[in-house]
């Protein structure tokens, strides 16, 4: 029983989930909203890729990916514009129900278009090749995902901590009203946050679906939930936390499969979520915020 293969694959799924988890943690940081539809956006970007490659066979793969990423960002923007911003002042529950409604709509729309059958993700040239690394034979994307996730995180953290726009995002996440008073255009910041989240989801979907090539309308549900758990475990609102949380969840699930607890892999991640929520609701990296009466 050698652990390496399970660890590597655990890190891989962790890395792929991390990109989606960052989307959750950023949107929650800004809007205090669980963007239920984010998992579905991840699935939609996979489906978009299939239809782009099928309908525009002449388009080189690199361009196809960029077109898909652009479309995903646009959809993310639309979701925020039509489903969330009209409810900006609405009670918390109706915004959440709207998020659930969007995720339900995306699932049913894709199921209608694809007829419910699972479609094959096109082969991605470089990262799709099988490669032998440390005695394990698997697709390059498996070994690449954690690295790409960490690199993107570092870039994102630099943007947030060292650019004017990053400061605006941090301000908005700390206090909505005051940052509005300070002249920050709230809606622009929120739209851009959604756009970044959508872009990362698109990147994550290319890495993830290059490995798990069968996609149907339900392929977004499980990764979406796992990514959210990762965001909570890592400390909601903290981007590095989301990545570390995702790596932990990925490895935990793979190890469960290694030790024959395959049936429990789902149960373990949800168990982890409930334990973290109760013991340390702010997660590993999150800071404590006292509720002012």
């Amino acid at each position: 029983m050698n652990i390496t293969s399970y660890l590597i694959r655990g890190l891989a799924t962790g890395g792929q989930f991390a990109l989606v988890a960052i989307g959750y943690t950023m949107v929650y940081g800004i809007l205090k909203l669980i963007n239920f539809a984010h998992g579905e956006l991840f699935m939609v970007s996979g489906i978009l890729m299939i239809y782009i490659v099928a309908d525009l066979p002449t388009l080189p793969i690199g361009l196809a990916i960029c077109l898909m990423a652009a479309l995903t960002v646009f959809i993310g923007f639309l979701i925020e514009k039509f489903a969330y911003s009209p409810l900006r002042s609405a009670p918390r529950m109706s915004v959440m129900i709207s998020a659930i409604g969007v995720s339900y709509l995306l699932q049913n729309l894709v199921s209608y278009i694809t007829g419910g059958l699972s479609k094959q993700f096109p082969d991605i040239p470089v990262i799709g090749e099988s490669v032998r690394f440390l005695g394990i034979k698997d697709k390059l994307t498996v070994f690449l995902s954690p690295v790409i996730a960490i690199v993107l995180t570092v870039i994102l953290v630099q943007i947030i901590n060292h650019t004017k726009f990053g400061m605006a995002m941090r301000a908005v996440s700390k206090d909505f009203e005051t940052s509005q008073l300070m002249g920050i255009k709230i809606n622009r910041v929120i739209s851009i946050t959604f756009a970044i989240g959508a872009f990362l989801a698109a990147t994550g979907s290319v890495l993830y679906f290059a490995k798990n090539t069968g996609i149907n309308h339900l392929s977004g549900a499980n990764p979406g939930l796992k990514a959210f758990i990762a965001a909570v475990v890592g400390g909601i609102g903290s981007i590095p936390g989301a990545v570390v949380g995702a790596l932990i969840i990925g490895v935990a699930e793979s190890l469960a499969k290694a030790f024959g607890l395959a049936d429990f892999s789902d149960v373990i991640s949800f168990g982890l979520l409930i334990i973290i929520l109760v013991v340390k609701p702010t997660g590993i990296f999150g800071e404590k915020t006292t509720e002012k009466v």
């Binding site: 039509f82 918390r92 339900y104 209608y112 939930l225 909570v232 949800f270 168990g271 409930i274 009466v293």
Partner: protein, 362 residues
Amino acid sequence: MWEKNKRTICNLILVGLIIVLLICIDTFAPATSMWFSVLRKVCTFALAAVSMNLLNGFTGLFSLGQAGFMLLGAYTYAIFTIPVNMRSNVFRNYGDSVIRFQMPLVLALILAGIVAAFFAFLIGLPVLRLKSDYLAIATLGFAEIVRGLVQLQSFGPVTNGPDPINMFTAPKSIMVYAAISGISILIIVLMINSTYGRAFKAIRDDEIAAEAMGINLAHHKRLSFVISSFFCGIAGAMMAMCNTSVSSVSFTTSMTYQILLVVVIGGIGSISGSIIAAFIFYASSEWWLKFLDLETYTKAGSKVPLLGPGFRMVVFSVLIMIIVLFFRQGIMGTREISVYDGIMKIRSVFVKDKAKGGESHE
């Protein structure tokens, strides 16, 4: 007597009429009519929606664990009502069932509720302290955990593992479903109109003020959570009766989303709203709007655009988004149906016409 509770009397008359209508359908409708399977589902999901409304709508606790509690109720009911001689057949892959006896229907129903309530109490201890969106995700996680655990091979002798359970008592007549659902909803309505109901609404409106008025938040939240799960368990048992076979595969999060959307359509905080919405949602999705899924061809043989498998669900999801965004109150908002006020309003519309018409000669 009339003056004091005229509204309740009118509403009781309405309920009486509905019961008579149901009896007619039950006896006279041809055995094959769609009314049977539709009304059975409507009664089941009306109770599920009302019990979710008790929690989300009246106590302000946003929980997404309904599928988990319904699963517990369905499994408990199914396991305890399989005739003794059929047990080994159903539990074929796991030797035989641990339970050796068969329970009468009513007892099994109550047990289904109790089992769901017991698990609600357990999960409630850690989870009810959480803020609303975390509570939603934690209860969603709980439902997934329950679904995962029930399917385990090691639990085979108790829950038949991943194999479906069938052969249990599944009544056919609508009156059984209407009775169970009716009594349960009546109990919930009585509770909401009691002093405890007011305490729940206080918690929904303003937790800090409620606590300052001496309402113990932990105790009342747990009470509402456990009672809502009790009736969710009974709704789960009714769902087992509807489908005549129970397998954990059908208790997915999308079922919880459907119940939530029924509550939203009906109006969060309105019991009659949930019942009306359950009827509209399930009657149309199971029957009236079924044609949306069938590829139909016009006489000229050309395919009617858009219609095809899955289109019905797309129409539903768009409809629900419209309701969530523009009609946040849903059909009834937080108002309850009142026949008396309805009649008065209609009468006043007529009276006004007469008055307008009669103005000339006064």
